[in-house]
């Protein structure tokens, strides 16, 4: 029982990352009709916003300490972050410690800008081209972004810690009447789950309850008619692209403390997120969220030893196996609508 609860928590956590990326993908697909293979790269760039802010906050003044030596035996250069010099040791250290949450503030405008430049500069030229062309160009763009990040930050992972206050884990076992130390779950992963729930809720509310959202939904349903009504739908869709990029970006920022960011983390998520979108149904936002959580939970259960002992290697194929079964039973995915990508 305790194992099942633990894997359920894990699945919700994994699923929230999948759902956030798949949500952005579906938003772009639903509004612009573009299959955006660069979406994983946007997630990665978000994580590197956190890395960059951490690096910026750690820019230091240098002083030589003649009493200590470096690895070559030369006098040691002691570095003190400017933030510490300016705000004092305590406040300075606190600002550096909170670099990941602070990065959210930086990431939102940066990601909207990146999304805007991507859409206006490249993707808009591919609206009327076949999906295969769109996939190729966005995939190429993803590789370019990935290589740029590698050039700047190197190939190895860069540790980007959560604030000290959220390090450690919470003992659910005590709460649920199990033995202590049996069901423990890291604080930051719980925050990640709550954060994604809020973001997903906010995106749905935005589309549901604002005029802007209403126009966008109308445009998703029938772009031509909305255009004929005198509404500049292209402008709104560009803004939606920026919003989708921002969602991927903040998902990346918050993911940074879970696994140290590296340049290919976007690709690791991209393929899975596409499966999520297809399983959920192309163009369906609730479908993407549902499928994200479902596949996350299934993946977690598949890596349980009890399951692996019966089906060895099931953890490696579970997602694709589920996708095959669902597409056989429901060819349009869980919540897919008639007519999407079927013309």
């Amino acid at each position: 029982m305790d194992v099942i609860i633990l894997q359920l928590l894990n699945g919700l956590d994994k699923g929230s990352a999948y759902a956030l990326i798949a949500l952005g993908l579906t938003l772009i697909f639903g509004t612009l009709g573009v299959v955006n293979f660069a979406h994983g790269a946007l997630f990665m760039i978000g994580a590197f916003c956190a890395v960059t802010l951490q690096k910026v906050l750690n820019i230091s003044s240098e002083a030589i300490d003649p009493t200590k030596t470096d690895f070559l035996g030369n006098p040691l250069v002691v570095k003190t972050p400017y933030v510490v010099n300016w705000f004092g040791p305590e406040t300075g250290a606190l600002i550096i410690d909170w670099s990941v949450p602070l990065a959210l503030l930086v990431a939102v405008p940066i990601m909207i800008l990146v999304g805007f430049i991507m859409e206006r500069g490249l993707i808009k030229h591919f609206y009327h081209r076949p999906h295969a062309d769109q996939i190729l160009v966005t995939f190429g763009l993803a590789i370019v972004m990935q290589e740029l990040i590698k050039q700047g930050f190197g190939a190895n992972a860069i540790p980007t810690g959560a604030p000290d206050a959220f390090k450690g884990s919470y003992d659910f076992g005590n709460l649920l009447g199990f033995d202590p130390n049996v069901i423990i779950y890291p604080y930051w992963r719980m925050i990640y789950f709550a954060f994604s729930a809020i973001v997903i809720g906010a995106v749905f509310a935005f589309l549901r309850f604002t005029t802007f959202g209403m126009v966008v939904r109308a445009g998703m349903a029938d772009r031509e008619t909305v255009g004929l009504l005198g509404i500049n739908i292209d402008k709104r869709f560009t803004i939606m692209f920026g919003i989708a990029a921002a969602v991927a970006g903040i998902a990346g920022v918050m993911y940074a403390p879970i696994n140290s960011p590296n340049y290919h983390m976007g690709m690791d998520f991209l393929v899975l997120s596409f499966v999520v979108v297809v399983v959920g149904g192309m163009g369906s936002l609730p479908g993407a969220v549902l499928a994200g959580f479902m596949l996350g939970i299934l993946e977690s259960f598949a890596s349980m030893n009890e399951v692996k002992n019966i089906f060895p290697g099931i953890d490696q194929i579970i997602i694709y196996l589920t996708a095959i079964i669902i597409l056989l039973v429901r060819p349009r995915g869980l919540m897919g609508k008639r007519g999407v990508m079927e013309d």
Partner: protein, 447 residues
């Protein structure tokens, strides 16, 4: 009647002898120079450095390339000579190899076997590389070693730690300076026993490929021999990025030690996840829960950040060693690049020097002659103490370092501290040890 010493028969005889005499050096030189693959003919000799320049191990590959460039500079008489001055064999003169200036070409393995084979093949066939070296993965090393054997060039393996490289997949043309999974386990086990006692229950998470399998087999055998119980061995896909669903079952498995047979990005993430789940703060079976990482590297420790503190593992070499060879290498590398070399850089620098030295001693680049010069070669001064290149399996036997993530690093490179230098004798095994059995070196191939 006039007489003459010149007769027709005599002329023919003299002519034949003179002709043969004149031709002889040509025949002999053909015998020693062009009867093997890519025999150098001009004033230069080309080496092929096959390292991951893209992909997850690109940083290690970049460090290997730096070390190769440094080695070439030293071989050609440039720089401060690095470990050439401390190397016990003094055959290298700083005038290239056998008087020929050393040049090099590079290839990108991408840490993929097929890409690595393709780049090695291109360097052998198009660029005329007489030796291939490098790599940062056992899967790649074994693939490239096989290719070099078929092509007839020497392969000096880079960072490869699977028992199989010099075990069941060993080849006559392949040589490994780096240590292996068995040696890590043999060195680590006594330290683990001393630190954590004999009564422990271990849970293994293992990268699902050749290196992971042999590392798991080695460390499980060594710890079981001292009384530990192996609770579970779980294989994780190499492409995994989030290990939370593999870490979670450890919590209630009854294990009190987690062994992470992971390397590179896998290790960074699995260790980070394990620490996030609070494993290190747990008390199980009345003991503190512990994590062990059998193969450590400084570049990985950097990626995992604070999580490595206090965690034991093993490494082939570390820049903080104080022997003359290590100091000379750290000085020339550090002066040129501004930071200390990694263990990957060290092993490939040694391999390049060892190859050049073997050529000098053999008087040829012929892979069979070079192989003979390396087999059973004993040397010192390259940072690992007295070392033997064993003839039976082409594996180097030398001291192994047991290290621990440093609690209070003094600078950004000061991440691991050496706990013990395990003497070579303690990590030596018989050539027919079951973990290495199954393959044959075969005969050397000169192409």
């Amino acid at each position: 009647m006039s007489t003459s010493n010149f007769t027709r028969r005599g002329m023919l005889k003299t002519g034949a002898i003179a002709g043969a005499g004149l031709a002889l050096p040509q025949i002999l030189s053909a015998g020693s120079h062009s009867s093997y693959m890519n025999a150098p003919t001009g004033s230069t000799v080309t080496l092929g450095f096959n390292v991951p320049q893209t992909g997850p191990y690109a940083d290690e590959g970049a460090d290997e390339l730096r070390a190769y460039e440094l080695a070439v500079e030293h071989l050609n008489g440039g720089g401060d000579g690095g470990m050439m001055g401390t190397f016990s064999s003094q055959a290298l003169q700083g005038n290239g190899i056998l008087g020929r200036k050393v040049e090099f070409v590079t290839g990108d393995t991408q840490t993929k076997s097929d890409a690595a084979r393709a780049s090695a093949k291109s360097m052998i066939e198009k660029d005329g590389a007489v030796m291939i070296t490098g790599g940062s993965s056992s899967g790649v090393a074994i693939a490239v070693q096989g290719l070099c054997q078929e092509a007839g060039v020497i392969f000096m393996a880079g960072l490869t730690h699977s028992n199989d490289t010099t075990g069941k997949d060993k080849k006559a043309n392949g040589f490994r300076h780096f240590f292996n999974g068995y040696m890590s386990a043999a060195a680590l086990a006594p330290v683990l026993e001393k630190m954590y006692g004999k009564d422990r229950k271990a849970y293994h998470l293992t990268a699902d490929y050749t290196w992971g399998w042999t590392q798991e087999e080695s460390i499980a055998a060594a710890t079981e021999a001292m009384g530990w119980e192996t609770v579970n061995k779980v294989r994780t896909p190499l492409a995994s990025t989030d290990f939370s669903s593999y870490i979670a079952p450890v919590l209630n498995s009854g294990a009190d030690v987690l062994v992470l047979n992971h390397y590179g990005g896998n290790m960074v993430n699995s260790l980070t996840n394990a620490v996030q789940f609070g494993l290190r703060d747990k008390i199980v079976n009345g003991k503190n829960f512990e994590i062990v990482v059998p193969l450590y590297s400084r570049l990985m420790a950097k990626g995992a950040g604070e999580n490595v503190k206090g965690i034991f593992g093993s490494t082939n070499w570390h820049w903080s060693l104080t022997d003359a060879g290590s100091k000379a290498f750290v000085k020339s590398f550090g002066t040129k690049y501004g930071f200390p070399p990694s263990q990957a850089a060290h092993t490939v620098y040694c391999q390049t020097l060892l190859y050049a030295d073997a050529c000098e001693r053999a008087g040829s680049h012929n892979p069979c002659a070079v192989g003979e010069a390396l087999e059973g070669f004993e040397f010192d001064g390259l940072g690992n103490g007295k070392t033997l290149y064993r003839a039976e399996d082409h594996q180097c036997f030398k001291d192994v370092l047991v290290v621990k993530g440093k609690e209070n690093p003094e600078n950004e490179f000061d991440l691991l501290e050496i706990v013990e230098v395990t003497p070579a004798a303690q990590v030596t095994y018989a050539p027919d040890h079951p973990m290495f059995a199954g393959g044959e070196l075969g005969a050397c191939n000169a192409g």
